[in-house]
Symmetry: C2
Subunit: 322 residues, 2 copies
């Protein structure tokens, strides 16, 4: 603890997820040197959660023997849409917040310069800055978890677009007449490759009586199903898992190939729960991307697994420039 | 002619197409004040075409009473891949050229500073600079002609990507198991909405015996068919044309919606032969984009028709910064 307190230029990154909030003390090399978590209920009142976050920051500093005045910056990463001008969260789908002034409130309560950023943008920025070590100018981050999120780094900056909502990689169309997506459209990348969508398709089949090796893997409990089980079933030759797996890798490969043609990135970073929970996904998707993308677009491209994993958004939020 | 000769800061833009080469004298306001064209055969030897272009530049200057030393710059727009470092055309699909040093050669022959750019990038740059008057920071240009090309303007600069081949909007995937595309992939935007692909689908049906109003519109000659005929047939209630038209607008709407979610542009400029040859295409696509795209991504978006039409690439090439 004494060691942490002596580090210069400490920052705090906050990652506001759907069910928990994590706060990390980040050193100037982008390492999380201390971390605390609290649970948060869905649709929780903003004022209560805001005060809980302020308390979490206080505790993280105190427990590490650091005066808050020494904290260089607090960086918040939140799902949903952020207004980067005002620092308000315009809409947080998990918490049900609309237009809440979290940046301004925390800055006032904590007396520390505070910034706020979309969680996926923060994650890919953290990855670019501290795991890729800024070696690449054009990076595409694709996070496949419950849904599919993404972020685009161009010349070391997060690409935001006209009204600051750019980078919604999960909502490119992969089939205009395809699966319904939670965004209201049909056939989005997310509807094909998001973990909750894949699980729902498997569960629907299990509920309508499908048995086979997958049923054994799950011990008869379809509620626990996640992408790792589908991979396990696929490797054991379960028919349903094979179908689902082939669909996911083919659509994911086609999505990435299209993005490669469009954006010609140097590196694609793949992260998120589905990526971390499977072993072979990236290896099986790569040859599909290579086959589908145009030769000059794919030349020199690297497709790699995210390294910072669950700390990426904390680290990125602590360092990203608005 | 005397008037043209008195204009300050004149530039020359060259647009190298598949069957003709156009050269325009462009004034500092981006207007083409004089223009000349030559035909070019497919797979024509590079040295011959290069010398023809040099001659075309000479004639354009001489006929307008302008000394070549007064030309500020020659800007070349060419289909295919350009190496922006060397100024070489790496591959020109129409002319069959590979790695030809056109920029360096013309600079040497003409003694005028010369630049080179991909034709679609040049066109959207010209559009951004002289028709949108630089009012927008994030612009997406989608050119639907024989194929589908595109260009992305971010903060006033053409987005090129890691190895300079970014912006291939025609080759985002719209259906991994869809129509074959000339790029070797299946289900590209181009394979659904490119003019030659649409015409091929119609011609195949006509050749296998389909008659109906379309047959009358074409006077029994399916070889002359283009996108305008499909629109005409659709408006007259021809069944084949209705099917083709609905497919094109639905896939085009879905493609643009995905691009809107991903890139959050302020303006989408639609150009190219299919756009210019139809009356209602843009109007019918707009509501599909609005229905499919996410509300925050589409807020404030404008979808407009390109204004510079066939002069866009000439003007853009004359002004674009490498």
């Amino acid at each position: 603890m004494a060691y942490v307190a002596e580090e210069p230029e400490l920052r705090i990154g906050i990652d506001i997820g759907g069910s928990k909030i994590a706060a990390g003390l980040v050193n100037r090399r982008g390492r999380v040197v201390s971390k605390k978590r609290i649970s948060v209920e869905k649709q929780k009142a903003y004022a209560k959660v805001r005060d809980d976050i302020a308390l979490l920051i206080d505790e993280l500093a105190t427990e590490n023997g650091i005066e808050k005045a020494r904290i260089e910056r607090i960086g918040i990463a939140s799902a949903g849409q952020i207004d980067n001008e005002t620092g308000n969260i315009l809409f947080s789908p998990n918490l049900g917040w609309r237009d809440v002034p979290l940046r301004a409130d925390l800055e006032k309560i904590c007396c520390v310069k505070t910034s706020i950023e979309n969680d996926v943008n923060a994650a890919i920025y953290g990855e670019w800055r501290f795991s890729l070590l800024k070696c690449a100018r054009n990076v595409l981050g694709v996070y496949i978890g419950t849904g599919v999120g993404g972020g685009i780094i161009i010349d070391g900056k997060v690409y935001r677009g006209f009204s600051n909502v750019g980078g919604e990689i999960g909502h490119i169309t992969l089939n205009p007449y395809g699966y319904p997506c939670n965004c209201g459209n049909t056939g989005c990348f997310e509807a094909y490759c998001g973990g909750s969508y894949i699980a729902q398709r498997a569960q629907r089949r299990l509920k309508s009586g499908y048995r086979g090796k997958l049923w054994g893997i799950l011990g008869g409990n379809s509620d626990i199903l996640h992408a790792g089980h589908i991979e396990e079933g696929y490797l054991l030759g379960d028919e349903l898992c094979e179908t689902l797996w082939r669909e996911v890798i083919e659509y994911m490969g086609a999505a990435l190939a299209g993005l490669v043609n469009l954006l010609n990135p140097e590196i694609i970073v793949l992260g998120g729960g589905v990526i971390y929970g499977t072993q072979r996904l990236i290896d099986e998707v790569k040859p599909i991307v290579e086959k589908r993308a145009m030769a000059p677009s794919i030349k020199g491209l690297r497709i790699i697994r995210a390294k910072l994993e669950e700390n990426a958004a904390i680290v990125g939020a602590a360092f990203i420039e608005a």
